[in-house]
Symmetry: C2
Subunit: 560 residues, 2 copies
């Protein structure tokens, strides 16, 4: 069957759909219309080209219009903008941006992959030629040219989501002083809980990023020949270049004007085979609403991996194959200087507010066997139902963050439990892992919590108590304790605990901690079996120390 | 309940069981008896201590007897050997090796974790003080002392399994010339298929290892003051030091003499809660038979990860908790200089011989986004049933081998399919992965093969044909083709293929290839839809080139 498929948007989802369509149907007429100057480019690589980590601009292009034409027989029209969809006649109105000519194009099937547009906060004056957002190659070229021609010294990055963090790092790499301003109390606020963001804050500050948290950009002004940002904390900081990275909104204008149904966040509503409310129109990528692979609820997950998969599946559906998209769980990762931070599923913050029942485990295993050189600790947080189904995970560390997260994400995608994590047989040799892989450890600890073997408290139940009615027991060695401990904690090293049980109260709750939570787990088991009311501090001293240090530096920054 | 549990063997499974027992039961009497001088040491780290990669001997010890006593209240007896089990009286006869004293010890529960002993081939003369096996710290100390005191120059390593490969690498690191002799036609013969071993062969030779394949050690002799190894190929090579790493056999003597049931490979038979045929005696680790998590058949999987898990689960069972071991799928990895090789489940070689129906996919995706610096190719082989259930995987490469393997192993453990691999949402940012993760790509290609979208042939159906009745079509660019191609192949670059279809025969089968298999996939789809009989060469030129180069070097080595 010779179908005419017109695809609107030539990056990620659109390009992936076009290629798959051709592989499945050599006869179809495929037209790819892209408003910008480029198709199928390395969207996620753009910040790294700004930082010169990616040195060659040519490397940003995965496919060229020429390649798509010769290898795939796909007609590519860049700098063409679709103005309007006429659903009744199945045609679109297209504007050739260079000439201004407007023409009509018919379709049998229309696939919308317009993506999402960066949000610009409505701040007067925030529109100079030194203010940027980063969406495409053209934006990137503008920033690169500005860096080259104007030699800016001070950068303002607004928004500490994934892109804001990547831009901040790459502007530091490009030699600039960077202020990173985030309205929320932490970076990646929708993806990380406070104790998991804390090590990133410390790391960003250690790399010279001036981090402003719980701070909004209130206004900008020009004065004394410079640009100044006025912050909600009253500070006034100069900037030569500003990048706004406060999020993106689905580009649903075309769909909306055509009367297609919209959903969450104003994104285009589609069914499980990516059909919009018009069965001849499909949509994929950052412009659509998806089903959460965890809650089953409608949500918005603008990520490159799902966009690519959606494009492929939409092509299958257009070719008449049965397709049922499984929804998205939102696995994502970001490099932050020498660290990586990864996230999948729901955060504790979200779970708390949604009122769902959940449990949490925090562990700090080493990236590989401690006796083999170069191992570094991981911070892993696992969220799960009281029955053990995994709801979310967060991983921060210098190595194997991606691996750890991917394995957990794989089990989440199959609807697995924390016991599945414990049972996994993962590749072990000393350079790569430990006989008990970090994922196994997270699974075991979560299982212990579920079965009541390991009652836990979280850091905020300890750190923010005015009149604690519990005893804090530090079971690390005397020298570890001396090097820094919680105020008011009693130190009984585990090795002495069995002999010193008489020093402890039977009535009062005892909160046990050690460096990462293993020694205190042993102590907690010991105490419980001896009739004490003991609970383990989740994440241990490592988590608490990061939060305390982060609070100290954040407070200091606020008083600057 | 105060139980007396005696554990025989203080490494991996035994140590893990002891610790878990104490955590579950503060009252139990736990005695850990170990024949050797050390417990709970880093078994898998020993080769790296020989190569000075692990510099500090102390780092090899995960737990000490003192630590187990003070932290876990476990009585540890090293250099004590259990001579005999008296099941009727529930006691064992123990010899204190230092004094020679023999005594009896009663038990309520006995847990056997004696491990496996290195196999010594019965070659006369292969027993000098310069001939070693590597099992424990004492063996390691002997090798280290020999290296230090005798300054050997030439090493003979017999057996190219996991340990043989690690020892070969570490002896090279220690400055020796290394000959690695393997009876099979390839390294890791039970874990890798020929095309997956080929890149390792090339890499070993490139790092100066003299690799002898399909070669046995026939005899050894002393002559002219040197030790000589006589090989089955007629060669005679000198050695100053020999390490025998031809495998290990379960240490089941105690169990056998006590009349316990044995199984596969002479290993101790246990039920799903690790009980032997005597319900008061449990067994775990390298001494036991396990169920294959893939076939359900009894098998033998001596690996550290499963041993640790088994120890933990046996402790649960001993404490009366319900335990059902899920069997082992045999995930394993080895570092080979700058490469890693990983494996899980069944090989194609095994599947062929077992007569099971299977399909195979070979892909070569990059370790992370190609536009971000430092990406290296992965070789991934996936084996699966015609219905898509994953039977095995092999991964070779310089980066992300462990991650790729772990994700596949996770899906295998949950009984998943290749479509599950395709659907996974894995962490993507350019430094870590691609929008289509290597695992997704393997899953998509496997799905294409299953659904008949991508008919494939394997390298051996092409390379070893005397009178091929197919046309070889190379769809790479002219310059790629000119740089090296298969004999007799016709070159039509994909970009020209649609215009040059008339040059191809409609009746003859066309086998299409490119560098890694993506371009040829497009070409295969194009040809099939135009009525040609086309199949894609799995793994492409990259796989073929490695095999051809490997064969050339192996033949050259044989003629030395």
């Amino acid at each position: 069957m010779k179908k005419k498929v017109v695809i609107v948007g030539g990056v990620a989802g659109g390009a992936s759909a076009a290629a798959r369509l051709r592989r499945l149907n050599e006869q179809a007429e495929i037209i790819l219309i892209e408003r910008g100057g480029y198709i199928s480019y390395a969207n996620c690589g753009l910040p790294y080209y700004i930082g010169d980590v990616i040195a060659e601009r040519d490397n940003l292009f995965v496919q060229t219009p020429h390649g798509l034409r010769t290898r795939y027989n796909i007609e590519v029209r860049t700098r063409h903008e679709v103005l309007k969809i006429n659903r009744h006649q199945k045609l679109i109105e297209v504007k050739e941006l260079v000439s201004g000519r407007v023409y009509q194009e018919t379709y049998d099937v229309l696939l919308l992959s317009p993506g999402a547009a960066p949000i610009r906060p409505p701040i007067p004056g925030l529109d100079g030629d030194n203010v940027f957002t980063l969406r495409d190659v053209t934006d990137t070229d503008r920033i690169k040219a500005f860096l080259r021609d104007r030699q800016p010294r001070q950068a303002l990055v607004v928004g500490a989501g994934f892109i804001g963090l990547e831009i901040a790092e790459n502007l530091v790499a490009a030699g600039l002083d960077v202020a990173l301003v985030e309205m929320a109390a932490r970076v990646l606020p929708r993806n990380l809980d406070p104790e998991m963001a804390a090590p990133l804050h410390l790391h960003l500050r250690a790399h010279g990023v001036n981090l402003y948290l719980q701070t909004a950009l209130s206004a900008v002004e020009q004065k004394d020949g410079r640009n100044w940002a006025l912050l909600s904390n009253g500070e006034r900081i100069p900037y030569d270049l500003a990048v706004i990275a406060v999020g993106a909104a689905p580009e649903a204008r075309l769909a909306k004007e055509a009367g297609l149904e919209l959903g969450t966040n104003g994104a285009i509503r589609v069914n499980a085979s990516f059909q919009t409310s018009d069965p001849h129109i499909y949509a994929v990528g950052d412009a659509i609403e998806v089903e959460s692979g965890i809650t089953g609820e409608k949500t918005y997950v603008p990520l490159a991996g799902p966009a690519n998969r959606q494009g492929r599946l939409a092509a299958d559906a257009i070719c008449g194959r049965p397709v049922k998209y499984e929804g998205a769980i939102g696995t994502a990762i970001v490099k932050v200087f020498a660290l990586a931070a990864g996230t999948v599923g729901l955060t504790e913050d979200f779970l708390k507010h949604s009122g769902q029942k959940y449990l949490a485990a925090i562990v700090h295993p080493l990236s590989h066997a401690g006796y083999y050189p170069g191992a570094t600790p991981l911070d892993i947080k696992l969220l799960f139902t009281p029955e053990g189904r995994i709801l979310g995970a967060q991983v921060v560390g210098a190595q194997n963050v991606d691996k750890t997260l991917d394995v957990i994400a794989a089990i989440m995608k199959t609807g697995g439990t924390v016991d599945d994590l414990a049972a996994l047989e993962l590749a072990y040799a000393p350079p790569f892992s430990s006989a008990k892989n970090p994922v196994n450890i997270a699974g075991y600890v979560a299982g212990n919590i579920i079965r009541g073997d390991l009652p836990v408290v979280s850091w905020d139940q300890v750190l923010d108590q005015e009149n604690p009615d519990f005893l804090l027991l530090d079971v690390r060695t005397k020298s570890q304790f001396a090097a820094g401990a919680l105020d008011g904690a009693l130190n009984i090293p585990l090795a002495e605990l069995r002999q010193r049980l008489h020093e402890l109260p039977k009535e009062k709750e005892i909160i046990v901690y050690c460096t990462v939570g293993l020694t205190s787990y042993l102590a907690t088991r010991l105490l419980i079996q001896n009739g004490f009311k003991a609970r383990n501090l989740s994440g241990g001293w490592r988590t608490l120390k990061a939060i305390r240090e982060d609070r100290r530096l954040t407070a200091a920054a606020g008083n600057r």
